[in-house]
Amino acid sequence: MSEPVIEIEGLKKRFGSQDVLNNLSLKLHEGENLVVLGKSGSGKSVLIKCIVRLLIYSEGNITVFGKEVSSLKKNDLAEMRMKIGFLFQSGALYDSMSVKENLEFPLTRIRKELSAKQRQEKINEVLEHVGLADALNKMPSQLSGGMRKRISLARTVVVDPKIMLYDEPTTGLDPVTSDEISALINDVQKNYKTSSIIITHYIECAKATADRMVMLQNGETYKEGSLEEFEISTDPLIKSFFKTNT
């Protein structure tokens, strides 16, 4: 198995007196798609926000490319974040900017070496990749939910990240668009050679994208294994989860 790009050990995150993550440990290996499953409120989104230090964890260690996240200085943190693409649940497109400006925003900050022409080429390339080359001058308010997700994905991959973190990528989308987004996640893995953590509670998305799966329950790892292992599991919680969320 390849080297882990993210290693999490004994992670704890408390909000007040509530333990959201409780002694969680997992590894993301280079080039793999790791799906993190779990009920709402099981701490899935908190986990990936801790990885990019949008949330500060209470105890434990998170190592990204061999560097401990909590001890990174401001510049090192920015450098680490440049290697990570984060697809937010809501898409998080900047409402006041057009699609082109949304895609240019991370490029001008992370890929400063690119000329205006190279930036434009890169933007065209990713927009074509997500099948929305004609949306360049549209505003986010003019896009449908599925289109917004695609543009968000384009904005995330435009800077060539090494790791992708997907927070509920198919939430709120119809089954057809969900399948398209799942296919795009696989394309991103193949074309950009990314390692990804995909947070979801939709089994179809998990089935379509997972190389390996982890199920969270009450903030800790409940089960870890391949899709086949989950599917044949006789554990009542896993069976119920697969049945309910299919």
Binding site: V52, L54, F105, P106, V159
Partner: protein
């Protein structure tokens, strides 16, 4: 039995009262605690604005965009209110001055009151409503829809990009809007003077400015910068620290207007005291 009952009741009464007092004390302590933590958060927010203002790579393009948003888009509202302010002040004051045979003092009186006090304060209050609430709502909705977090993971400092640019835009543009409102207020006053009289534009303006000296302008302009800063900082603070739900966007906008308006009045009071001492 009859003698014991009142004693038990008294004991229970004391117990109940003690619980009530304890609950009130805890409640008050919590309120004071949250109030103090709000002040501490505001202070930390303010220091981060100062720190990011003087750090490298000022977001100049975004700053110009915000100047346009704050200045140009507020012009119609400020023009209308500025003109009406002068017009109404003239119409209200004229009969009194006529009674005292001092109608020739009207342009000077209007100009001094507009430049010193009414123009800056009323324009700042309008800006607190329009610009402060706009900033609160915009940043609040950005927070709710994870746009601010998205900026952070794009290796962009949201305080520098969103807050510093807005605070400086309002600090610079609001004084300009106030001067513009003052000028239109005097113009409105000329219109008001011509409703029941006949005075030329040139004569009215020369009479108005003959009563205004540099020390009428300077304190008003200086305090205008503080009004602009207060409106920008409060609007951004309320938006940036908004809660998670959509309801919090409305609350952020509302509390931005209330707090900014209150602080404008307080800053004005302090400015007047300082000016008075210096005079």
């Amino acid at each position: 039995m009859t003698t014991l009952t009142p004693a038990i009741n008294l004991k229970e009464l004391v117990k109940e009262e003690t619980i009530k007092v304890s609950e009130k004390t805890i409640d008050t302590t919590e309120k004071v605690g949250s109030w103090l933590s709000e002040i501490a958060n505001f202070f930390l927010f303010f220091t981060s604005i100062v720190r990011e203002t003087f750090s490298r790579d000022f977001e100049f393009k975004e700053f110009l965009k915000q100047c346009y948003q704050v200045g140009n888009k507020s012009l119609p509202l400020i023009s209308i209110t500025g003109t009406i302010m002068g017009l109404v002040l003239t119409i209200q004051s004229r009969p009194i001055l006529v009674n005292f045979g001092a109608v020739t003092m009207l342009p000077g009186m209007v100009a001094v009151s507009l430049i010193r006090e009414m123009g800056p304060v009323i324009t700042a209050l309008i800006c607190a409503g329009k610009i402060g609430s706009g900033m609160g709502a915009e940043l609040g909705s950005m927070k709710v829809t994870e746009q601010i977090e998205s900026m952070e993971v794009s290796a962009t400092n949201p305080i520098k990009f969103l807050v510093v640019t807005r605070v400086w835009a309002s600090t610079i543009m609001i004084p300009l809007l106030i001067l513009f409102a003052d000028a239109l207020g005097i113009f409105g006053s000329w219109i008001g003077a011509n409703i029941k009289g006949d005075v030329s534009f040139v004569l009215f303006f020369s009479q108005a400015f003959s009563h205004v000296d540099f020390m009428d302008f300077l304190p008003a302009v200086i305090k205008s910068f503080f009004f602009g800063a207060v409106i920008g900082i409060v609007g951004c603070y309320k938006g940036y620290t908004a809660g998670r739900g959509t309801e919090s966007v409305g609350k952020a906008a509302n509390s931005a207007v209330v707090l900014a308006s209150l602080l404008v009045i307080i800053v004005d009071m302090i400015a007047v005291q300082i000016t008075d001492m210096l005079n």
